[in-house]
C-alpha cells in the first residue's frame, strides 16, 4: 500500500535507497525517515521503554517520543535519533531500537501481560533480594534506549564560532518576523531553524502575510535578512546555552553524527521555538495509529504523505475543523471530528461544522474518545458523549488524530534561574521574567494566532535591536491572517475507571500513565519535581515536551489543586539529544591535552625508553633491554647507578629565575628555608608551604648573582608553583623589585649520578671543567660553556651518590647525553629514580599529599632555622603538634624478605579497627636486598624498632613490619660527599 498522496512542498522527484532493519526501501529527496516509512504503510516504529508496547509515530518533530532509531553502524553509529528529524540520504543504514529479537515480535513485551503493569518504582521495590545489583544488568538491557557505539569515531567534529548582535532560535513566523525587524535596524542577525526549511506551520496553515501566501512571505523575508548580512542556518537546532554563549548543532545530511557544532556569541538571544502539540489521555492512546493533528498535517503538506486511510480527529479546540478540511482535501477520509468542548463553548466553530457536514464528515460536540480498539494498530475508537449514562458507540478508523492544545516551547527561557507560570488562556506554561539578554516570542509565549505571533516576533526583534543602540527608519510589523483563535478548552483526559488509568498514557517515552501519577500522589510524592523523579515523567530525550503540561494538569485534577500551583518541572538542556563526540568537540584523542616533550625525548624513544605520560610530559619509566618488566629493569638501573653511575633526564623540573633587588627577600617570604643566606655560586635545598602550613613543594635555589636566583620545583608542581609565585608578587609583596621568569624550557637538565660520575664528566666536558669538577663541594655550582652553549654544573644529589646536575641549553642536550652514554654512563628512568630516592628517604610524592607539615616530614631542623614565610603562622596551630600527627618513618619487613605495597594500613598487632598510619611508598631495594618503604605513622608509634602490622585487604596480605629511620641506605651520607 502506498500512502503518498501528492507532491509535498519539501519533496523533489529524485529517489534513492536506504536500509531499515535490513530491508532496502526507497525514499525521495526531502523525505525524513518518518515520512518515508509512513509512505510505505509502516505503522510500528518502536517499542516502548518499559512495557515494550508497540508504538508508532506520534509527532513530526524532534519531540517524537516513540520512533527513535539508531543510524549508521560501527564507530559512526548514533543512537536515539528521532525519526521525524532524520533527513534521509542514499545508502543510510537505520535500525529500530529497544526490541529483541525483532520489532514485530519482541519477547520482553510479554512483560505487559503480567497480572499488573509494572507501576512506578516497580523495579526498585521488587528486585530487592539478594540485591538490586544482581538484577540491574538484565533490567538495563531490557529497558533502555539505543546502545552507544563501542568503537571510537576518529573523525574530528566541525566546530565553528559565530558572533552576532541578535541570535534567533526558530524560523517560524515569529522568528522570521524578529529576524526581519532586527536586521532592518542594521543589527547582525543569525537565525537558526531546527527543521530543514523555515516557515513552521505556515507550510500547511491557510495563511496570508502582507498580502502574500505564508511561505512566499517567509522566503522573501529570509532573502531580505540575508541581503542585510544576516545568516540563516537551517537544520540547525539551538540546544542550550548561557549568557554569552549559545550552542547550536547543524545536522549534516547523510552523515549521522557529523554535526557541525556552532558556538554562537550573541549580544541578544530571542527564542522563537514555537509550541509543541500534546495529546489527550484516553485508554490505549499509545496504539500505533494515534498521532497528533499537527503531525498529520505536516506529513501531508511537506512530504505528501497521508498518515492513514480513515481518520478520526479528537481534540479540545477550533483548529480541529480547519485541519479536518485540509486533510480531507489531501485524500484522508475523515470519519468524524470529535470535539470535547460542550456545545456552549464550541459555538465559534458552528460554521466549520456545517461546512464539514456538507462533505459528509460527522462532527460530534461534547463527545470524547474513550479508548482505541485494535490489536497491532488502531482499528477503531469507542466514542461517547460526556453526558451522564451516555451510550458508547464504535467508529471504525485506522488513525486517530489527537490534539490537546499546544505547550509553549519555553526550554530556552528556563536556564539560568528562569521560572515558568501557568497561562490559563493558552492551557500551558509561559516563561517567567527573562534576563536582559534573552527574550521569548510567538507561540513560545502562548500566542497561537498568526497576526499576533508576527506582531510579537516583530516586537521582540525590534526591542533587541533598540536595546543594542540600533535604530529604525520605519518599523512596521508584518500583518498576517491565518487560522482563527483556537478557543482552547481546559480538558486533559477522557473519563475512565481506575483500571483504565493504567492505559491512559501521559508520557509516551517513559511509559508513565495516569495510574502512575495517582500512585505517586498516594505515596506522598506531591511536588512536581518529586513526581518527575518517582515516575520518570519528563526524563529522557523528549524532556517532557509531550507529557509535562498534560502530567501537571492531570496531577492537578487528581490532587484537587490548581495547575499553576503544581507548576512545571525544570526541563534541562540539551533541548534535543547531542552526541558526546559533539560536546567534546576538538578536545578528544591527541588534542585532549597538549603533550610536553623534553629536548631528550627523541633519544629516549629511539633507545628503548618506555615513555609514559606523567602530567603533560612523556617520561621514560625505564629503558628496555631485553623485555624484562619495569620493576626488574628499575632495580637493575638503580643498582648500576650505585655501582658505577648513570644519567637521568631531569628536564621536566620547573625552573624559574627570580631577579631583582628584592629577590632574596621575596624568596625568604616564599620558602620556609632562607634564601638570603645563600652565597653567590652556592645553592640550597628549599621547602615551601601553603597558607595553611602544609608542605607544598621542595626544590633547589641557586644564587647566580646577588640579585639573581634560579629556583627549581618538582615536575608535578611546576605550573602551580609559578602561579603561586606570581600571586604573591602581585598581592602580598606587590611593588617589590622582583621579577619572575619561567625558564623551564630554556634549560635541559641531565642528572649524572654515581661514583664514576666525576671522572666521566672530566672526560666528556673537557679541559675547562676539570678544575670545577674537583673543586665543587656539595651544593656548589659553576657556570661555563660546552660546545659553545651555556652549561651550568651543580653538585647536588637526590640519589645519595656523588652526583652532578648539568643544566644545559636544549640544543646541546642530545650531544652531551650521547657523549655521556658513549663514556659508559647508561640512562635510568623514573622507576630507578624512585628506588634511589626511597633508599635515601627522600620524598617521592605521595608524602606531599597536602596534609603533611614540615614537622610531620621530619624537617624539624629546617623549621628551627626557618624564617617567617607563607604558611608559617598556621603551622603553629596546636592540632598540628599533637602526638597522633603522622610522622615520616621508614619500614621494613620483620622477616627481611616479605613484599609490601604502598597503600597498606599500619596497625598495632592487637588492633583491628583503627589505623595508625599507612605506607606511602615502597619498592624492592637492590642496595638493601629487601623491600623497603616510607610510611606516615602516628608519632606515638613511630619509635624505631616498633613492630606493626601492614594490612592490605585489597590485595589480601598482612605483613609484619618494623619501623626504621626513613634513610635506608648510607645514613651518614658519606657516598654523597665523596
Amino acid at each position: 500500500m502506498i500512502f503518498r498522496a501528492r507532491r509535498g512542498v519539501r519533496l523533489s522527484a529524485e529517489s534513492f535507497e536506504f536500509s531499515f532493519d535490513g530491508r532496502r526501501l526507497t525514499a525521495q529527496q526531502g523525505d525524513t525517515l518518518a515520512s518515508a516509512l509512513l509512505a510505505k504503510g509502516y505503522r510500528l516504529m518502536g517499542r516502548s521503554f518499559k512495557y515494550r508496547r508497540r508504538r508508532g509515530l506520534l509527532t513530526a518533530g524532534v519531540e517524537e517520543p516513540n520512533a527513535l532509531v539508531t543510524v549508521g553502524s560501527g564507530p559512526f553509529q548514533v543512537p536515539n535519533v528521532p525519526s521525524p528529524q532524520l533527513r534521509l540520504a542514499a545508502g543510510m543504514v537505520i535500525t529500530s531500537q529497544n526490541r529483541w529479537p525483532s520489532l514485530r515480535f519482541d519477547l520482553a513485551s510479554l512483560a505487559q501481560f503480567g497480572k499488573d503493569f509494572l507501576g512506578a518504582g516497580f523495579y526498585y521495590k521488587t528486585f530487592m533480594w539478594p540485591s538490586w545489583r544482581f538484577y540491574e544488568p538484565l533490567i538495563r538491557r531490557l529497558a533502555g534506549l539505543g546502545p552507544a557505539p563501542r568503537d571510537c569515531d576518529v573523525a574530528p567534529p566541525d566546530v565553528r564560532n559565530l558572533d552576532c548582535d541578535v541570535l534567533i532560535a526558530g524560523g517560524g513566523p515569529a522568528g522570521v518576523a524578529a529576524a526581519l525587524a532586527a536586521s532592518r535596524s542594521g543589527a547582525r542577525v543569525v537565525l537558526c531553524e531546527r527543521d530543514s526549511a523555515c516557515g513552521g506551520e505556515l507550510e500547511f496553515e491557510t495563511a496570508t502575510v502582507d498580502g502574500e501566501s505564508g511561505i512566499v512571505w517567509i522566503a522573501a523575508a529570509l532573502a531580505e535578512v540575508q541581503r542585510r548580512r544576516g545568516l540563516v542556518l537551517t537544520s540547525t537546532a539551538v540546544v542550550g546555552g548561557t549568557n554569552g554563549l549559545i550552542v547550536a548543532l547543524q545536522q549534516s545530511q547523510g552523515l549521522p553524527g557529523a554535526d557541525t557544532y556552532y558556538r554562537i556569541r550573541p549580544r541578544r538571544f530571542i527564542a522563537a521555538m514555537g509550541s509543541v502539540e500534546r495529546p489527550l489521555a484516553f485508554i490505549d492512546n499509545d496504539r500505533p495509529g494515534v498521532m497528533l493533528v499537527n503531525a498529520a498535517e505536516s506529513y501531508l503538506a511537506r512530504q505528501g504523505v497521508c498518515v492513514g486511510r480513515e481518520a478520526v480527529l479528537f481534540g479540545n479546540h477550533d483548529r480541529l475543523y480547519a485541519a479536518a478540511r485540509r486533510l480531507a482535501a489531501g485524500g484522508v477520509r475523515v470519519r468524524a471530528v470529535i470535539d470535547v468542548r460542550p456545545t456552549s463553548l464550541s459555538q465559534t466553530s458552528e460554521g466549520s461544522r456545517a461546512a464539514l457536514a456538507g462533505v459528509g464528515i460527522e462532527c460530534l460536540v461534547g463527545h470524547a474518545v474513550l479508548r482505541t480498539l485494535g490489536r497491532f494498530q488502531v482499528r477503531g475508537v469507542q466514542v461517547a458523549s460526556l453526558e451522564p449514562r451516555a451510550r458508547v458507540r464504535t467508529v471504525a478508523c485506522d488513525t486517530v488524530l489527537v490534539s490537546g492544545g499546544w505547550s509553549p516551547a519555553i526550554h530556552a527561557g528556563l536556564s539560568e534561574g528562569g521560572t515558568s507560570t501557568y497561562l490559563p488562556q493558552a492551557n500551558g506554561f509561559a516563561a517567567g521574567p527573562q534576563p536582559s539578554w534573552r527574550a521569548l516570542c510567538g507561540a513560545a509565549n502562548g500566542i497561537f494566532e498568526l497576526g499576533e505571533v508576527l506582531a510579537d516576533g516583530h516586537r521582540a526583534g525590534a526591542h533587541a535591536a533598540l536595546s543594542l543602540g540600533f535604530s529604525f527608519d520605519s518599523a512596521r510589523a508584518p500583518v498576517g491572517q491565518g487560522d482563527a483563535s483556537p478557543h482552547l478548552y481546559a480538558y486533559w483526559r477522557a473519563p475512565t475507571g481506575r483500571s483504565g488509568e493504567r492505559r491512559q498514557f501521559v508520557d509516551f517515552q517513559n511509559d508513565v500513565t495516569v495510574a502512575d501519577l495517582r500512585q505517586s500522589l498516594d505515596e506522598g510524592f506531591t511536588d512536581i519535581e518529586h513526581v518527575k523523579r518517582y515516575t520518570t515523567l519528563g526524563v529522557g530525550t523528549d524532556q517532557g515536551r509531550i507529557g509535562a503540561v498534560l502530567g501537571a494538569a492531570i496531577l492537578a485534577e487528581l490532587s484537587g489543586r490548581d495547575v499553576g500551583v503544581i507548576g512545571q518541572f525544570r526541563a534541562r538542556p540539551p533541548y534535543q539529544p547531542v552526541t558526546m563526540k559533539t560536546v567534546a568537540g576538538l578536545r578528544a584523542g591527541a588534542l585532549l591535552r597538549p603533550v610536553r616533550r623534553t629536548p631528550l625525548e627523541a633519544w629516549h624513544a629511539s633507545h628503548g625508553g618506555m615513555l609514559e605520560p606523567m602530567g603533560l610530559w612523556m617520561r621514560a619509566r625505564y629503558y628496555d633491554r631485553g623485555g624484562i618488566d619495569a620493576a626488574s629493569a628499575g632495580c637493575e638501573e638503580a643498582a648500576r647507578v650505585r655501582a658505577h653511575g648513570g644519567i637521568f633526564d631531569g628536564s621536566t623540573l620547573g625552573k624559574f629565575e627570580v631577579v631583582g633587588p628584592d629577590a632574596a627577600e621575596f624568596l625568604d617570604r616564599m620558602y620556609l628555608t632562607r634564601a638570603s643566606t645563600i652565597k653567590v655560586d652556592r645553592s640550597k635545598y628549599m621547602v615551601n608551604l601553603r597558607e595553611d602550613g602544609m608542605v607544598l613543594d621542595d626544590g633547589i635555589a641557586l644564587r647566580i648573582a646577588a640579585d639573581r636566583f634560579l629556583v627549581t620545583t618538582s615536575t608535578g608542581h611546576a605550573d602551580q608553583m609559578l602561579s603561586h609565585f606570581e600571586y604573591y608578587r602581585d598581592t602580598e609583596w606587590a611593588g617589590r623589585g622582583v621579577s619572575i621568569t619561567d625558564v623551564s624550557e630554556a634549560w635541559a637538565v641531565i642528572v649524572c649520578a654515581g661514583p664514576a660520575s666525576r671522572q666521566t664528566l672530566c672526560a666528556v666536558l673537557g679541559e675547562g671543567w676539570i678544575e670545577p669538577l674537583g673543586r665543587l663541594t656539595h651544593m656548589g655550582f659553576a657556570t661555563g660553556e660546552w660546545r659553545g652553549a651555556a652549561l651550568r654544573l651543580l653538585r647536588a644529589s637526590f640519589s645519595g651518590e656523588l652526583a652532578f646536575e648539568l643544566h644545559c641549553r636544549p640544543r646541546i642536550a642530545i650531544p652531551l647525553w650521547q657523549a655521556l652514554v658513549d663514556s659508559g654512563l647508561l640512562p635510568y628512568g623514573i622507576e630507578a629514580l624512585d628506588i634511589l630516592r626511597l633508599e635515601k628517604g627522600y620524598l617521592i610524592g605521595a608524602e606531599l599529599n597536602g596534609q603533611t607539615t614540615p614537622l610531620d616530614l621530619g624537617m624539624d631542623a629546617l623549621v628551627k632555622a626557618g624564617n617567617p614565610c607563607i604558611g608559617r603562622a598556621l603551622m603553629d596551630r596546636g592540632g598540628l603538634h599533637r602526638v597522633d600527627r603522622p610522622m615520616l618513618v621508614g619500614v621494613r619487613a620483620v622477616d627481611g624478605r616479605s613484599k609490601f605495597l604502598a597503600g597498606a594500613q599500619l596497625t598495632t598487632p592487637e588492633e583491628h579497627v583503627r589505623s595508625s598510619g599507612y605506607i606511602t611508598s615502597s619498592a624492592y631495594s637492590p642496595a638493601c636486598g629487601e623491600w623497603i618503604g616510607l610510611a606516615l605513622l602516628a608519632r606515638q608509634q613511630a619509635q624505631a624498632g616498633n613492630v606493626l602490622l601492614a594490612r592490605d585487604p585489597l590485595r589480601g596480605t598482612e605483613t609484619r613490619l618494623r619501623v626504621t629511620s626513613p634513610v635506608h641506605y648510607d645514613p651518614s651520607g658519606e657516598r654523597m660527599k665523596s
Partner: protein, 81 residues
C-alpha cells in the same frame, strides 16, 4: 559569564583563566583568610589568573546570581591597595 575582560588582553574565553579563591572579608584573621569563604548572592570578589594568556592576576567583582561581571582589575598595579 563565558568571557572575562582582561585589562591587558581584552575579552577572552573563560577557559584561559584559572579561578583561585573568593576573598574573605577585609581585615579578617589569617585563619579566616585561609579557611573562610564569603558567598554572597549579589556580589562576589574573586581572584583569577589569566593563566593561559598574559598570566596577570586579576580581581574580579561579579554577581554570582546573574553572572554579570562588574569589574576586572589587575592586581599588583601601583594604585591597587
Amino acid at each position: 559569564m563565558n568571557r572575562l575582560t582582561c585589562p591587558f588582553c581584552g575579552a577572552r574565553e573563560l577557559e584561559e583563566f584559572l579561578f583561585h579563591k573568593t576573598l574573605a572579608e577585609p581585615g579578617s584573621s589569617p585563619y579566616a583568610d585561609t579557611y573562610e569563604r564569603v558567598s554572597r548572592m549579589e556580589e562576589s570578589l574573586e581572584h583569577w589568573q589569566h593563566v593561559s594568556g598574559c598570566r596577570a592576576w586579576l580581581r574580579v567583582r561579579r554577581n554570582p546570581s546573574t553572572n554579570d561581571v562588574q569589574e576586572v582589575r589587575c592586581l599588583g598595579s601601583p594604585e591597587d591597595p
